[in-house]
Symmetry: C2
Subunit: 534 residues, 2 copies
């Protein structure tokens, strides 16, 4: 047979190129004017390293990790990730803002534990007697006690321990049964109760429902420590500095205000929300001042708070929290960014359950001319047409500023169009999705669908202390290695959009974007230089 | 605070209903005129049972199945599925056509094995000595020998066995080492070599790349048996009858024509493709006649063949296969439906590798006025922007009639639009995707995205003998339980579209659709009746 004419082949290739172009037309990282020569050069370096390491690192065999691949299950893959050159490079990247993280899960669990051990006011108890077989499934409870509190117990692990009795933390640690590992076993047990292990995520708790149980428990444990005022300030400070260390220049954590009071230094549970926010505000100012004094003001723009409560309260209770949020907004207008309802959407109340309250609130802030939007979690589910999935309709109809997770958004062509048109950004948390079993691994995550449909995305870590994905480097890494489409333009767009779609306002946002751009240029130069040195 | 006015609430609810309607507007199962009262009633029954069984069956604990949930990993969930009332009902459903199945994987492995044991001409060998530790990873090879063939070996498992030597099948079975399980161990080993076990899919081979290795091996083993002429006819017959038994009224298997000759009854490998297709044709006619004689002609419309070869051949070799396919089409115009290239898209050649050959072929059949379309596998991958993912562009540009799998299509907004507009149906194989680790379980499968974007779908089983999803009942079951949107309209649309988008022509298709519709009405009546009896 004769060859197809070269013109037929040429025509086909032109058609193909045009089709690919159309297919990616909506992507926010495909605005061609924005790619500088420097970025092109750095992008080529990144892509080459990715291809090389897919072979040299991800195709090699690793002890005790039977199936390595780029974008693999994070909890088992992490030890390989940190060995890569790509990870080292990304750790230097200016990440922009962190727009989806739950405050009580933002600081390394070991660090929180070291803060707790320094507080003699803290006591520990368990609801059952500790035995080796059930140790890892038994939860510690923490409570800061007044100075005059007297405990009859000095040990948590003895036969004589009466469940529910409070034991001084350091006494409990020092007397911890050697059969349970002694003080090291004690530390491992506590830290394990605040984190999700690979064995849990991929074995014992390998469904969305079961992992949520473990997940909720990690918060119960951590909050017993973080909500003690002397720890709280240190905790927030560490969150900010470790974020800065990772290249994050702005944070917008969700703070759970469900509990109406936190515990003060004197062991009294009487620190109200206003006092709590004032502490937060003070730490943010302190860090900003310190950064400025070091000439590093570009590295930290600030922080705001998304007020959150949990979606198991009654509609009447919600009214109290909405009022409380509004009062805080009036007291700290520069700090309160929005309102959210958090918790497992699959088992707790949908937004429609609170419809009257939410509509009324929306009307009220509108009338009062206050900028206090909803920033709802919605669609964090595998359900199709379930209440959790349908929360997406309500989040959008109620005017949500962004969507937390929006994992099931990709099922909804009309909603993707609305998010694109109304510029509702999705707070996408790749590693969180893998740990919570919404997706088996990064290559199965719907992020490429979201990006190809032009929906803005702010990449987020969600609960880094629980999953171990501290900072944003891990999440950016997973995105970059799981797609051949993703490159430096993608990372740039994600980082830039995390500022663009943040709650920063007017000139604040301009300053943040300008500072970020300057750092991005330095990052590109660093990539190219690191390649020359290699 | 005052309540939002009831009109504000009403307005919200109307907006919400309208948004949901728009969101699902493209779905092919939402054409409202088609839902009869009978179907509405039956749908309510199905939905009620689904809700009940989600609780009574899927939330209960099951021995050795730690995490049951609707749509769970098929290989472990199967034993629960068969206990449900929903499965029993779906087994009676008229399924329409089976448009994506590889012939050598369409008959229960145990049945194939019983056919093999009845053939004294068949010999077996292994490439290494069998020991307990490596038994399950050692592959048996089969070969039909001429009558005068003499083997020096009577046993496969003795110390004296020389790897590569052919042993008569029954002798090998009868003499199989008791330490390896004797004849039962022999049977288990062979059948295990043709199927994927839960331990393999979710443990030892838990990545797409590793499962493909095992998968390829199952075909190597099975083809040693299916491509022996006396077995081949029985095999095709059993495929047809077991499909009919499951409510499938038309099949369009892909047959792998890579090997140019199959082995005849005399042990000579000299049965060419024309003779092979003639045998297939004869069996189809025989079954049609028998069904007609029983007054059951509505239950079996017929079968066509999609000619396939493997995407590791050279472009020059492809020319031979394209010529061969065209010659078969001319000899059996009623039987040859199209042409495909099969095999692991992630590791073998992309369509672009064969571009010249494929374009030339397309031009040629067009010029000759022959209806012989491509029906390509494409996008059966987790890759984003990889060659396997990009096969979708080429499949569509080359005019594919349907797309086999198209798993990554959901990433491509423009291609989804093209498939919808040009009515290119996707052959979606849910259970295959779970077994091949493209998706962790059914709730994570992209089918809802495909349906919500109005892309036509033909639900298929792919390799039922390898995965154990014989017929189509299992696949329909998994689709129904993993979505609250899916109901009887969805099943009806999927079944109907499997005829609509088949290679049946003109009046054939009309007959098939008419017959199917009558059976669907009976199925609805059966559902309602079964509810009354319950």
């Amino acid at each position: 047979m004769s060859s197809p004419t070269s013109s037929a082949l040429e025509q086909y290739k032109a058609q193909r190129a045009s089709l690919i172009e159309q297919d990616y037309l909506l992507r926010r990282d495909r605005l061609p004017s924005e790619v500088s020569d420097l970025e092109s050069e750095a992008d080529a370096v990144i892509r080459r390293i990715r291809t090389e390491e897919a072979e040299s690192i991800w195709s090699a065999s690793h002890e005790s990790i039977p199936h390595p691949f780029p974008g693999m299950e994070f909890l088992t893959g992490k030890s390989i990730i940190v060995k890569t050159r790509l990870f080292k490079i990304l750790s230097k990247m200016p990440k922009g803002g962190l727009l989806h993280a739950h405050l009580d899960a933002t600081v390394n669990a070991s660090y929180l534990w070291s803060l707790a051990l320094a507080q003699p006011a803290i006591y520990v108890s368990t609801s059952s007697v500790l035995v080796k077989e059930t140790l890892s499934s038994t939860l510690p409870s923490f409570k800061a006690m007044p100075k005059d509190f007297q405990s009859a117990e000095r040990s948590l692990s003895g036969d004589s321990y009466t469940p529910g009795t409070w034991v001084p933390l350091n006494a409990a640690r020092n007397s911890f049964d050697p059969a349970l590992g002694g003080s090291t076993g004690f530390d491992d047990w506590i830290i394990g109760s605040m984190m999700i292990s690979p064995a849990e995520a991929y074995g014992t708790h390998n469904t969305v429902a079961k992992i949520w149980n473990k997940f909720t428990n990690t918060f119960l444990v951590a909050q017993g420590l973080t909500r003690f005022m002397p720890i709280f300030a240190d905790y927030v400070r560490e969150f900010l500095y470790s974020s800065i260390e990772d290249g994050i220049s702005y944070v917008e954590p969700r703070i759970n205000f469900l509990t109406k009071f936190m515990t003060g230094e004197d062991g009294q549970q009487d620190i109200d929300h206003k006092k709590m926010v004032r502490i937060f505000d003070g730490v943010v100012k302190e860090v900003k001042d310190k950064m400025k004094a070091e000439g590093r003001e570009d590295e930290f723009i600030g922080a705001k708070i998304i007020y959150s409560t949990i979606r198991f309260i009654t509609p009447e209770e919600l009214d109290w929290y909405l009022d409380d949020c509004l009062a805080l907004k009036k007291a700290f207008p520069h700090l309160i960014a929005g309102f959210d309802l958090v918790g497992n959407e699959n088992s707790l109340y949908p937004l429609t359950y609170y419809l009257e309250q939410l509509l009324r609130f929306k009307e009220r802030v509108q009338k009062e001319g206050i900028d206090l939007p909803f920033i709802f979690h919605a669609g964090e589910t595998l359900g199709d047409g379930t209440e959790a999935d349908q929360n997406l309709y309500d989040a959008i109809l109620l005017g949500t500023k962004r969507i937390g997770h929006g994992f099931s958004l990709v099922k909804h062509p009309k909603l993707m169009e609305l998010c694109r048109d109304r510029q509702i950004a999705l707070e996408v948390c790749p590693i969180s999705c893998v740990c919570s079993r919404l997706t088996s691994s990064m290559p199965a995550h719907p992020l490429p669908i979201i990006l190809n449909n032009g929906v803005p995305v702010a990449l987020s870590s969600d609960d880094p202390s629980v999953f171990g994905n501290m900072g944003l480097t891990y999440d950016f890494f997973q995105v970059l290695v799981a797609s051949e489409v993703a490159g430096l333009s993608t990372l740039r767009t994600l980082a830039q959009d995390s500022i663009q779609f943040s709650s920063l306002e007017g000139s604040e946002k301009e300053v943040a974007l300008r500072a970020w751009r300057a750092r991005w240029e330095k990052f590109l130069a660093y990539i190219i230089e690191s390649e020359r040195d290699n």
